[in-house]
């Protein structure tokens, strides 16, 4: 039970139920799809980049609670950030869910900390990372469909 609660934290369940920035963005400057063929998670990520800054970010699609909450939290964290800042947050998130980030109190990570439990569930790391990898590739202006497989 304690294990499950560490994975399905309230923030995650809440963002899954009410995802933020969950909408199409017709005026987006970059649109990229992220797809995990193993479980069928499939999202479209929209970014509006103005002068190296993420002026707006949104997403659409469907998938498990972990992938959807992760995408939702990501959009709230990255809006208004520069590309460099966004990449830094991505790195932190990545090392958090792969269990490489040791000796940090999750509280200092803010909302990101909710994903600290994911590292205990190796099968779910891909779910948590899907939107982030898509974002990372979108910033690199790769236009292909992103797959985490």
């Amino acid at each position: 039970m304690s294990d499950l609660r560490s994975l399905y934290q309230e923030i995650i369940l809440e963002h899954n139920k009410n995802p933020r920035n969950f909408r199409k963005m017709p005026e987006a400057s970059r649109i990229l799809e992220g797809y995990n063929p193993l479980c069928g998670d499939h999202y479209t990520l929209y970014l509006k980049i103005i002068d190296d800054t993420i002026a707006d970010i949104s997403f659409e699609g469907s998938g498990c609670a972990i992938s959807k909450a992760s995408a939702s939290v990501m959009t709230t964290l990255l809006k208004g950030k520069t590309k460099t800042e966004a990449e830094k947050i991505f790195e932190t998130f990545h090392s958090l869910v792969t269990g490489e980030l040791k000796d940090v109190s999750f509280e200092t990570l803010g909302k990101l900390g909710a994903f600290g439990g994911v590292s205990e569930f190796p099968a779910r790391v891909k779910c948590a990372s899907l939107a982030w990898h898509t974002m990372h590739n979108a910033l690199d202006a790769k236009t292909d469909l992103v797959s985490t497989e």
Binding site: M1, D3, L4, Y8, L38, C39, A123, R124, C127
Partner: protein
Amino acid sequence: MMTSENVVALNDVALEAWTSMIREQFPILKNRVHDKNLVYLDNAATTQKPESVLDAMDHYYRHLNSNIHRGVHFLSERATEAYEGVREKTRSFLNAASTKEIVFTRGTTESINLVADSFGRAFVKSGDEVLITAMEHHSNIVPWQLLCERTGASLMVAPIDDRGEIIVEEYERLLNGRTRIVGLAHVSNALGTVNPVKHLISLAHRHRIPVLVDGAQAAPHLRINVRDLDCEFYALSAHKMYGPTGFGVLYGKQNVLEAMPPYQGGGDMIRSVTFEKTIFNDLPYKFEAGTPSIAEGIGFGAALDFLTGLDWNAVSTHEHHLLQAATDALSEISGVRIIGNAAEKAGVVSFVMDDVHPHDIGTILDQEGIAVRTGHHCAQPVMLRYGIPATVRASFAIYNTKEEIEALVRGISRVKEVFH
């Protein structure tokens, strides 16, 4: 005097004893997972192996290990005898006419690829058609797709209805003078549907079209009689019928196999080789290039002994009870929807839940020690047909119990608690 209730009660007690006797033979079932008893409900992916299969493979490596079909020495002769003995067991299991019709492969996937490649090369050309159904596993789709790409033939798909049954009239309409071969599942791995294969085969035969039956999910649950079915090909995997991975069978009618060119080239499949010309070996060896999985073959032989030694009355009654119990229990849970409600089903219950993704259900059940499959089950077209990305699939074997289905139901309550 015994009332009918007494009979049922007695049968239940007898079945329970029978199930415990079966469970005793599967050492892995004693395992604990996340501090809970393992509840293994992923049998359509692969079944667990009984002690007798593990022993047979161990015995081969300890006492018989050597290459087959080539040495004159003691070990090679003994190993060849053991391995070829499995061919006769397989023939008898399938009721094939001859061991020449039993080709050993790595599994269902290779069996189907063998036919798509070899039969395809000989008999399929541009403008022809290959007919499959909308409920096929990817391994009974992609080899045909590749064949069609290679030859310019077209892949036709017989549709299924909402319950998950092939629409026979549509299937019949798709059979025509251009159809070169039909590929269909005996039992669907995603929906559990048991298809009326004998009828579907006879419909194809009216147009003289050969039929390949994908029996991967049927072999562990049903008695198979290829001569009664009258199919040209029947494919199966040892690992789904209590045997080891990496081994399978392609049954093919002798006259059809004889008309087909070899699949892979190499040792064992030849009679003589010069740089000018190679003369191929007789059936079934023509289709068996290279050293096979000998230990796995011998393990498969033990699995066939295990299967044929079962009381099949008990098997069908027990598996029917499990399916019924799971179907009834899941139907009662609000928010749960079963995908696949065919009149005839075997061993599989696929379902989705309102507002909770199958992947999350799978993780929560896993914490309870319950192994189910979540995802598209290598049948993405089936998921598309129902407009869902994935399902949770509980699939049963002879060693499962009603208590395990109760554990599944409790697990789903946990899911609801977590996702309130």
